[in-house]
Amino acid sequence: MSATPSEQHADLIALARGGDLEAFSRLMEELQAQLMGQALAFCGDHQRAQDLVQETMIAAWKSLPRFDGSCRFFTWLYVILLRQHRRALGWFSRRLPLATLEQQASANRAEAATTSEAPNPEAAEAELLRAMLAALPARHREVVRLRFYAEAGEAEIATALGISTGTVKSRLHHALTKLRRMKEKMNHLRGGAH
């Protein structure tokens, strides 16, 4: 994913922060595709992704006076996207047990096998990875998403989330450890199933 050239948007951001809705509209025209791509990765459903992007844009406009430029604009926007997604999920944002994840992944693999001639192992792995990400606690998931999907540095994540860099490092470490262990258990479950 290419980094958002937020520096190029500095003028638009400044105008939008002053209440210029046209400037905000132009800014969102530039960033909508990126936001939509990330939303699609979260939801996997076009309609829900559109709703999520819309709610994110509205929330961004309301919160724009609080954006102080201490992190990239896209990182700030991405945090709003993550939180809107979490809010939209509500009760369903609770973590799923690994066995459920494996069942879902198996069902998806079976469905893919009936619709296409050759199963795509890379796509299956990507799907499994996203399912494992969804199973992480929200505080760990948002750090992983910001680090790898929004390409934000640890200091930038700390600023965007209002936490210390040490906390970001700690959460990232715990998240990666959990993901690795989940992968090992999933492999074990798969091995037991075959």
Binding site: L21, L40, V53, I58, W61, A126, F148, R180
Partner: protein, 143 residues
Amino acid sequence: MSTPNPDADQPMRDALQRDATQVPKPDFDPQLHYSTMRRIREREGPSVPQWNLIPLFTSAVVVALLASIAFWQMRSSPENKIATPSQPDRSLPTTVPPTVSRASLLAYQTAANEGDAALFALLDRDATSLLPASDPVFTTPLP
């Protein structure tokens, strides 16, 4: 407690980085953009901004509270109690209970023997049981 091994997480880091490159990049959706901007404009339009409502509401509550306190004080002041027609005027002589028993003939004789001052004092005391204390007869000097 196990010692953290950064290399153990490297395959997972690589997998996440690989997955991030596979995030779809859809085209700009004008319909989504314009419908969102329309919603934002609708919210911005005729309604009072939310940050204005809080002080407005607080001021209204404070004004209402002060007005009710002032009204309550006016109602409960003694001057208003007298002026209120629904309340009976306790200073009227018909309602004054005869708390003091009137002096006997012997008391008047004794007072007359003592002098004018004692006699007038006794007359005044008896008069208060018939007339209100605010009656001009008690305040105006004798001719």
